[in-house]
């Protein structure tokens, strides 16, 4: 398996990659708006430019895949790869939030992986320019393409969900990093929700002026206090939520004047309304 065979094999991989890239651009031309193209060529020309690029990709791909094998085909692919790399670097610098628009739907902004992938494409195309035979006569050297293809897959953010996320999901099934975070103490978010669901809240919600100001626990209850206005004066609304009983009716409330220590208002009949 000489280096001339490896060089000869490259057009197969490059051709298939360009076909994939071209197909995804034709399938979803709206992706053009998310790339840096509108900035580069103008809003109205972005989509036609994107489609023209897809057509060029398809042409070069078919030329690479079909006999005869001419060095000019690999040179064209290398020129395209230089263009890709330049465009991606431009995107990252000038329009950092723009997506790559390379292959497939992805809102991800251009990252180092996308640039590395374009450079890898450039390297394979450069090797291909030295080929003296077609890929169909590369023989066992075609095996090298499997390794190269795997590297391309790893550099393609569009394909993460097919291999990276399943691996992570599997690892978490074996051992979840947050196993054992369960606790018998209810989080504040749960208490807040119970307050919102209670008739006690409905009885005083019009008086509340602030968000939760303070919260504390004692043996059987959790307390939440809010600043309120009652009858034109400053007051504090305090809710008592029992740890044990989870019915909405079990939540109690009082509106208190903190300076005098007097309770100004306490709804007595807490039936659900509405």
């Amino acid at each position: 398996m000489g280096s001339e065979h490896v060089a000869a094999a490259q057009p197969l991989l490059i051709g298939l990659l360009l076909l994939w890239s071209s197909y995804s651009k034709f399938r979803d031309p709206e992706q053009a708006d998310r790339t840096a193209l509108p900035r580069l060529v103008g809003e109205s020309r972005a989509k036609p430019a994107y489609q023209t690029l897809a057509a060029i990709e398809a042409l070069i791909a078919l030329a690479l895949l079909a006999p005869p094998s001419w060095a000019i085909e690999a040179v064209a692919a290398a020129a395209l790869a230089v263009g890709f790399t330049g465009f991606l670097v431009y995107s990252k610098v000038v329009v950092p939030e723009a997506s790559c628009g390379c292959a497939g739907k992805s809102a991800k902004p251009v990252g180092y992986r996308a640039i590395a992938r374009a450079l890898l494409l450039l390297a394979t195309a450069a090797v291909a320019t030295t080929a003296t035979a077609g890929w169909w006569s590369a023989g066992p050297a075609l095996g090298v393409l499997v390794v190269e293809a795997a590297v391309f897959v790893m550099l393609s953010a569009e394909l993460d969900r097919y291999w990276l996320l399943p691996i992570r999901r599997f690892r978490i099934r074996l051992s979840h990093p947050y196993a054992g975070t369960a606790s018998s103490t209810a989080p504040l978010a749960a208490t807040q929700r119970r307050v919102l669901l209670s008739p006690a809240y409905r009885a005083v919600d019009g008086m509340l002026r602030s968000d939760i100001h303070d919260y504390w626990d004692d043996e059987d209850w959790r307390y939440l206090s809010y600043f309120a206005r009652y009858d034109g004066r400053r007051a504090t609304a305090v809710f008592a939520v029992p740890h044990g009983d989870t019915t909405p009716e079990s939540v109690r409330v009082a509106v208190v004047d903190e300076t005098s220590g007097l309770t100004l208002y306490r709804p007595t009949v807490l039936a659900t309304t509405g």
Binding site: Q192, R193, L196, L197, R202, D205, G206, D211, I212, G274
Partner: protein, 138 residues
């Protein structure tokens, strides 16, 4: 359209601090977190293609464009605000069937997203994040 009952949440816009830095001024180009505004899931074809309220079985989601006014009443506090459309959202289809209650009132499906100014004007706490509301044409 008679008032629809739905879940409301909030979002930030207008190139503000933190993760909001890249949010921009929304699909209408006017959105600011401090303005009395909201996002609506059907402002255009391309917006509808993102939010897909039909996935949750909401078929009668009217097409309303930038600047259209809705009056929304919180089923939690009883407060009412009038806000105008400034963006496309929320992503209704990600949360189909989700249900939020307050007092005895419940609502399903996210069809409106408010700016922090509008959400807090409804008397709602930004940290609770979700609330049942009733939406009408203003």
């Amino acid at each position: 359209m008679a008032g629809i009952t739905a879940e409301a949440s909030w979002f930030c816009c207008g190139n503000a601090w933190g993760p909001c830095g890249s949010a921009g001024h929304g699909a209408c180009g006017t959105c600011n977190s401090g303005n009395m505004q909201h996002a609506w899931p059907n402002t255009s074809d391309s917006c509808y293609a993102i939010t897909h309220p039909d996935t949750c079985g909401i078929s009668a989601m009217s097409r309303r464009t930038c600047g259209f006014r809705h009056a929304t009443t919180s089923l939690c506090t009883g407060k009412r605000v009038v806000t105008s459309i400034a963006d496309c959202g929320p992503q209704t289809d990600l949360f189909c069937g989700e249900r939020t209650c307050c007092g005895g009132n419940c609502a399903s499906n996210r069809v409106i997203d408010f700016t922090p100014a509008a959400f807090s004007a409804l008397g709602l706490s930004l940290n609770s994040g979700l609330s049942p509301v009733s939406i009408d044409v203003a």
